[in-house]
């Protein structure tokens, strides 16, 4: 296990190096003069050379890259061109917002997905199975931003059940401690705030979680069907165990590994989908931060935002990989 962990950590080095090269290149690969592109066509010569000076664009690539990585290692993500503030400070609360949203989307996807998959396999070829699989098929084909818009229209505007925008009520803002508002409202022992926060989470979480949910449901179903046919399940049945026990206690354990793989992969879908979901629900997360930066050509924020999300993705994948080896000792790479 130790050898595997260290090998897996070692494999991370070239990936992290490559990631920084790619985000570093975002500015430098812009055709023509990057400073000109950032400032727009009407920029004066002086403004351009000033920007080149402050961003260090006039130095050679190697020195610039070394400085970039040096800053990153010290936790310095650069300065936003628009707000002139440190990106590291700006990104903290947004990262928390994105992680909170992604977490709830994942809870939704895993809980509904696994259970729908199990019931589908249990009642194979029933109407539930048919409906669930049609729904799953439609779910994976749906654009996440369209689903988000339809939810807003139906549940927020037509029915008025849930809020359509933001993380909290602007009239009654929360006093942030951890910037995870669910945790914050619990820390403040504020029941009303907690309910408001949870209400704000429902629509974006469902929108973001639907595609992973559909994929998890399909995977669980096929993995479950395979296990249900095995000899040991027949033996347990023959011993007189009830169906529920057979499925949830015995069959699930052995069918969960491929499902876990899929769940790990879905983290990428969630983090990518967050950009679209956050834009629509005005969720003040890192995705929306990057989206706004694109509109303002705030390249340092685009670079750092993308790097932070990718870093998060890589770390989560690492944890998932280590988790496999822990759950299933047969896995050796």
């Amino acid at each position: 296990m130790l050898a595997y962990t260290s090998r897996r950590l070692l494999m991370l080095v070239p990936v992290l190096f490559g990631m920084t090269v790619i985000t570093f290149s975002i500015i430098h690969l812009i055709p023509g003069n990057p400073a000109q592109t950032i400032l727009g066509e009407t920029a004066t010569e002086e403004a351009i050379s000033n920007l080149e000076e402050t961003m260090g664009l006039n130095r050679n690539y190697f020195i610039q890259y070394t400085a970039y990585v040096g800053d990153l290692l010290q936790g310095d993500l650069g300065t936003s061109l628009r707000t002139k503030a440190s990106i590291t400070t700006e990104i903290g609360p947004r990262l928390a917002a994105t992680m909170e949203l992604t977490f709830f989307a994942m809870i939704f996807a895993v809980f509904i997905g696994i259970n729908a998959g199990i019931i589908s396999a249990w009642k194979q070829n029933s109407w539930f199975d048919f409906l669930a699989m049609v729904f799953a098929l439609v779910g994976v084909s749906m654009p996440v931003f369209w689903l988000a818009l339809m939810e807003q229209w139906l549940f927020a505007q037509e029915l008025g059940w849930l809020p359509a925008y933001g993380r909290q009520e602007s009239r009654n803002p929360i006093d942030p401690i951890t910037h995870f508002y669910v945790i914050d409202s619990i820390l403040h022992m504020d029941m009303k705030q907690l309910i408001t926060t949870l209400k704000h989470l429902v629509l974006p979480s469902i929108a973001l979680g639907t595609i992973p949910m559909a994929i998890i449901a399909r995977m669980t179903r096929s993995s479950m069907l395979e296990v249900m046919k095995s000899d040991y399940v027949r033996t347990i049945r023959a011993k007189g165990s009830g169906q529920f026990l057979v499925i949830y206690k015995h069959a699930l354990k052995n069918s969960i590994i491929p499902v876990l793989t899929v769940i790990g992969l879905q983290v990428g879908v969630l983090l990518g989908g967050a950009i679209l979901t956050e834009t629509i629900f005005s969720w003040p997360g890192i995705g929306r931060y990057v989206y706004e930066a694109i509109n303002y050509r705030d390249y340092p924020v685009i670079q750092s935002g993308i790097l932070v999300i990718a870093f998060l993705f890589v770390i989560i994948n690492l944890v998932v990989d280590l988790l496999y080896a822990f759950i299933d000792p047969r896995i050796k790479y």
């Binding site: 654009p143 818009l149 339809m150 890589v314």
Partner: protein, 309 residues
Amino acid sequence: MHKEEKQDNQQVIANQPNKKFNLDADEIEETSPLKETLQQLMKNRMAITGFLIIVFFLILGIFAPILTPYGFEDQDPVNRLLTPSVEHWLGTDDLGRDIFTRIAYGARISLYVGFFAVIGALIFGTLLGIFAGYFGRWIDMLISRIFDILLAFPSILLAIAVVAILGSSLENALIAIAIINIPIFGRLVRSKVISLREEEYVLAAKAQGMKNGRIIMYHILPNSLAPIIVQATLGFGTAILEAAALGFLGLGAQPPTPEWGKMLADSRDFLQLAPWTLIFPGVSIMLVVLGFNLIGDGLRDALDPRMKN
């Protein structure tokens, strides 16, 4: 299966003693993998549904100028935000443009982007995958690490990075989508090539002195086609979704191009007033993607020998 066919052939020959002792071209064709796959596919109702959906949108795109009297740019301020009617089948948008017309022309764009992005990714991914898998050693190390790095980014994020570099346009979105799909094809082909490299017929070809290029062309490539075809079919759907997402974020097609994702973004403010301006472009994206997913699933079942009865 071959045994049975052989027996059948022998029986046929035995019953017709006058017939020459050779196989007709027709009979050989009977066993060709392509025909077999198509036969399997025709039995799959889901795949047929998918196929029909794609044909529908293809017809819609190709015959758009005949199917609708309006142009996709024609604005009509008097008739803005009209509900669906006989004149405007799917209603009109905030500039009075006919939504059906825009969806029909939009089908061209989505299918065009999906097709060329996947073809691009397929060509480069397959080449890199073959190099990595066939030559191994440092070439494999290098290419595989590049794939790892590209796959370390959530795909849409990498596409955004590419468009941020190149500038927002439909063509750049297409390039971005092709780039993010390269490692997906690359890895698939690489793993297939590695398993084929040690096959006896490849070793035999090598022993005969066949050059690497010929071995790849005549032995490796034809035998790794099945998973590539399945991935490409499913990839069309994903590419269309990604193009729509980039369009929605304003990073893909620019106005007045009737790209479906862009149409959704433009109509966002009219969600309450005119929901049809958002419903139909979204349904179109979903149907096309669903179509490719259905065909892809069907193809996988047909091409995967383990799924065959």
